[in-house]
């Protein structure tokens, strides 16, 4: 079946409702169609969460990159950097940081590694690229899912209208 780059299947478009309704009862068909919509909605939800978490992560990486850049620029000087350092939430203390050629990056899973500022910059920049690509893909998926959900909703409306019309025709025939 036709699918998008992340393997989300394309929703089938009902070309001809009369033809489509020949196999199953209207109730069964409507049930089947709504089930498909729920599956798409489930995927939509998971992509929304993904998007949300990336939208938080990206500014964080950018912030880290900003301070690494600052430290990198200060490397040539011998003057220490005078800071107000966050010791805890809302608690800052004066700290003097001598010019440094290395920084420690928290990699997760209880691991921290020391990098030169150049390496750190490179690593963070590549993480930023990955996160931005992920966000772009999540948005693409969400727009693709929107398309499929709309197709399914229109399918449902058309089957429903078809059923209403059939019932009316039957009533008129028996009257």
């Amino acid at each position: 079946m036709d699918a998008n780059p992340r393997g989300i299947p394309r929703a089938p478009f009902v070309e001809d409702v009369d033809e489509y309704m020949k196999t199953d009862s209207p109730e069964a068909t409507l049930r089947k169609l709504s089930e498909t919509v729920s599956k798409y909605r489930f995927m939509e939800n998971s992509r929304l969460q993904q998007r949300g978490s990336l939208e938080q992560k990206i500014p964080e990486i950018e912030k880290t990159l900003d301070i690494v850049d600052y430290l990198r620029d200060r490397q040539g000087t011998s003057e220490p950097i005078e800071t107000l350092f966050e010791v805890n939430d809302t608690l800052y203390a004066h700290a003097t940081v001598p010019p440094t050629a290395t920084v420690n990056l928290w990699l997760g899973a209880n691991v921290m590694l020391e990098y030169t500022t150049d390496e750190a910059k490179e690593l963070l920049a590549s993480k930023l690229t990955v996160a931005k690509t992920g966000l772009k893909n999540a948005i693409e998926d969400l727009e693709f899912l929107r398309d499929q959900i709309t197709t399914m909703e229109v399918n449902i409306a058309r089957v429903y209208n078809w059923d209403v019309k059939q019932r009316r025709l039957q009533r008129e025939a028996s009257a």
């Binding site: 478009f13 070309e15 409507l30 709504s34 919509v37 912030k63 880290t64 900003d66 301070i67 600052y70 950097i81 005078e82 800071t83 107000l84 350092f85 966050e86 800052y92 948005i139 969400l142 727009e143 929107r146 398309d147 959900i149 709309t150 197709t151 909703e153 229109v154 449902i156 409306a157 058309r158 429903y160 209208n161 209403v164 019309k165 009316r168």
Partner: protein
Amino acid sequence: MSSSRFPLLQRKEERDAEVTWEDQQRINEFSKLNTRYERLDDEYKREKEEDEYLDDLIMELELLDDDEPINYKVGDVFIKMALEDAQARVQRDKSRLSTRVGGLDAELAATQAKMDDLKKVLYAKFGQAINLEKS
């Protein structure tokens, strides 16, 4: 049953206008553009607000004494730096943000224009049977 906001062919409204694959694609496109518009608009509002904060900040910095270093936040830490260094950073952030705001503004306008075009085509064919308005 499922209650989507739009666009959806109205139930109960019995219409004989057949939905072709081209129509379906137009309906999908409209729905997609509409979600895109909302997403971009949210971002636009956020960035616009930030942009205005930076304007205020630029004004405030103007009023400060040149000789006094200030504490300016870089990452999570406040760094004592010369006023002009802080101003340069603010200016850099400001120009990035203004570019982004301008870009979003243009994207929003383009999205709206495409939606308006689709609306005309879809209403011409389906009339009352379709609802393309925000509820």
